[in-house]
């Protein structure tokens, strides 16, 4: 029999054994360092205009080149990654807290509360992601707070569904039943029995949602509705590069590559986590194959 600690250690071992997961974890660790220390890492100021050196190709002085105003692309990408990560983490945290609260409550209580909450979630699901975000921007006007709210609202229903489905799976387990029979309060059961046991699927969903939150933030900023200048954002840098694609490819390529690498890392890490933390989600096929 394995103890709780044994299973934890083996989870880490399993994660580390998959090279793709390991590499994506290292990439994400580097992104986290950038997100914290962007200003210190940036070799130049983000708004240091240097017109004589505009549109310089990547070189030893400007590793990723300069833009149409002579600003250092590397410095702007680093600070933009920081802003992107802040928005993604805050908005997903918002969606996680609100969504899981709705989902767990609906799944644990059931009955009319479940029906009402899930119909509200269904209505939110009927709005396509970017459209809902645009509607929020239309109400509140563009900006960072709006972007966080918009992305948070968009991803809340997903966490509500995952939270509810997982709670339904755990609710009838003997240890929950036993605890209820002993007269334990609902709050304690939710905190000590339900939440820890549904955390696997939620962690996986968090990683995948962070990937999509980065993409959504970039799209909103690209459209001019997210982070506002002079604060650099990856989406807006790509938008501004449109007139210079042929003469200064680096202006378009590097901010986009930054988004691509971060999103890919979150997606691959999420997939790796799923294999370890949420084996039920791992295609039933693989399980069946092993039986054969």
């Amino acid at each position: 029999m394995t103890t709780r600690d044994d299973t934890r250690i083996s989870s880490w071992k399993l994660l580390a054994r998959n090279p793709v997961t390991l590499v994506s974890a290292l990439v994400l660790a580097a992104v986290a360092v950038v997100a914290v220390f962007a200003q210190a890492l940036a070799p130049y100021g983000i708004n240091d205009v240097d017109v004589p050196n505009a549109l310089q190709a990547p070189s030893l002085t400007h590793w990723l080149g300069t833009d149409e105003l002579g600003r250092d692309v590397l410095s702007r990408v680093l600070v933009a990654v920081q802003a992107s990560m802040r928005i993604a983490v805050t908005s997903v945290a918002l969606a996680l807290v609100v969504g899981v609260a709705i989902g767990v409550l609906a799944g644990y209580r059931g009955g009319w509360l479940d029906t009402v909450l899930m119909r509200v979630v269904d209505v939110m699901f009927a709005f396509p992601v970017l459209l809902l975000a645009l509607a929020v921007v239309a109400i509140l006007g563009p900006g960072v707070t709006t972007t966080i709210l918009a992305i948070g609202i968009v991803y809340t229903p997903i966490f509500a569904r995952v939270g509810r489905a997982s709670t339904l799976g755990v609710r009838t387990e003997p240890y929950v039943r036993m605890s209820q029979a002993m007269g334990t309060g609902d709050g304690y059961i939710l905190r000590r029995h339900i939440l820890p046991n549904i955390s696997g699927p939620l962690i996986v969903q968090t990683s995948l949602s962070l990937a999509f939150a980065i993409l959504s933030e970039a799209a909103l900023s690209f459209l001019g509705l997210g982070i506002q200048p002079p604060q650099p954002s990856l989406g807006r840098m790509i938008f501004d590069s449109q007139g210079f694609v042929t003469m200064a490819w680096w202006m378009a390529v590097f901010p986009g590559a930054a988004i691509f690498v971060i999103v890919l890392a979150f997606n691959l890490f999420g997939d790796g986590l799923r294999d370890v933390l949420d084996p039920k989600q791992r295609t039933t096929v693989e399980a069946r194959r092993r039986e054969r």
């Binding site: 709005f127 509607a135 239309a138 109400i139 799209a219 459209l223 790509i238 691509f260 295609t283």
Partner: protein, 324 residues
């Protein structure tokens, strides 16, 4: 014995239940869309008028949009008019919203369908091949490529494609739209890049679903039976496995089509494509609330309609769904 009425048929009952459910969700969507204009901090009419504000223009627009009436009467007026296809008039130019939306719909539909065709051309062969070669190097390559496709920002890919095929090579126009029936060649030249952008991303997502659909079927008992009774691998693959995987593939195609139609906003903006997406974007920038409301309602309704059709088709093909 009385003849069974149409409604006792399981499919009919399922359709009615799904219709009622969609109607409830659509009503919820209408509430949210209606609330949109009332959640705007400050006075939406004032904001929409901006620098064009005069007391007369303000009063005229306010009463034309019905915002001077009590809120309950406004809501029933909104839902009642929307049900008859009247979505009010634009704050900007006074044009009927329904007419504007219908003018834009063909461009979005043609882009969505062209993107879907490209997505299917990628996803079906790649997904089936990947599943049949499960665990081998070619499977890994396809799986990783599809992760790449899922992670690429579509607007970035669009700009790189324009930079390569339009600006540098000069093969295709950078942006714009020609109606299919007026100028078929011009339509094709203009739709290639936006459709490839949409299709590559959707194709990457769908490849994963096609792969797992085929794997799911391949592990079924009847496939094992077919193999063990000595049928050739070819027959097992195409007649037993792929054929049965078509049902889930159909579902994801429908869902993906709905997502494409409602999500082409950024691609339409990059390519100056005069569809619903760019209309919504411009309406948000201009704070044209009736137009935003109408477009959001139409797109959400389209989304629900396609999902409804997919569910019904699924129930027709797979009896387990409607009996569940």
């Amino acid at each position: 014995m009385a003849a069974p009425t149409v409604l006792t048929h399981p499919i009919a009952r399922f359709v009615v239940r799904r219709l009622a459910y969609s109607a409830v969700v659509l009503l919820g969507v209408a509430v949210v869309v209606f609330a949109l204009v009332h959640l705007v901090p400050g006075d939406p009419v004032r904001i929409a008028l901006g620098t064009r504000y005069t007391p007369e223009a303000y009063e005229a627009l306010r009463s034309a949009s019905g915002l001077d009436r009590p809120i309950v009467s406004q809501f029933f007026g909104f839902v009642g008019s929307a049900a008859t296809g009247d979505l009010g008039v634009s704050f900007r130019n006074g044009d009927p919203v329904t007419v504007t939306l219908m003018e834009r719909l063909p461009a979005t539909l043609s882009l969505g369908l062209a993107g879907m065709v490209i997505a299917l051309l990628i996803a079906v062969p790649a997904g089936i091949y990947s599943a049949l070669r499960e665990g081998r190097a070619s499977d890994a390559v396809i799986r990783i490529s599809s992760q790449f496709g899922v992670s690429v920002p579509d607007f970035w890919m669009a700009i790189l494609l324009v930079g390569l095929f339009s600006t540098t090579l000069g093969w295709l126009p950078t942006s714009g739209y020609r109606p299919l029936f007026d100028d078929p060649v011009g339509w094709l030249r203009h739709i290639v890049l936006p459709a490839v952008t949409v299709g590559l991303v959707a194709g990457a997502i769908m490849t994963r679903y096609v792969r797992s659909a085929v794997l799911e079927v391949a592990s079924m008992g009847y496939v094992r039976t077919a193999r063990s009774k000595g049928l050739s691998p070819r027959v097992v693959t195409f007649r037993h496995t792929v054929r049965n995987a078509l049902v889930p593939i159909l579902t994801i195609t429908g869902i993906q089509l709905a997502t494409i139609l409602s999500g082409v906003i950024v691609v339409e903006v990059v390519f100056a494509w005069p569809g619903l997406g760019r209309l919504v974007f411009n309406a948000v920038a201009a704070r044209d609330y009736p137009l935003i409301q109408g477009a959001v309602l139409l797109i959400a309704a389209l989304f629900l309609l396609i999902n409804l059709i997919v569910d019904v088709l699924y129930a027709v093909v797979d009896p387990r769904i409607r009996l569940a």
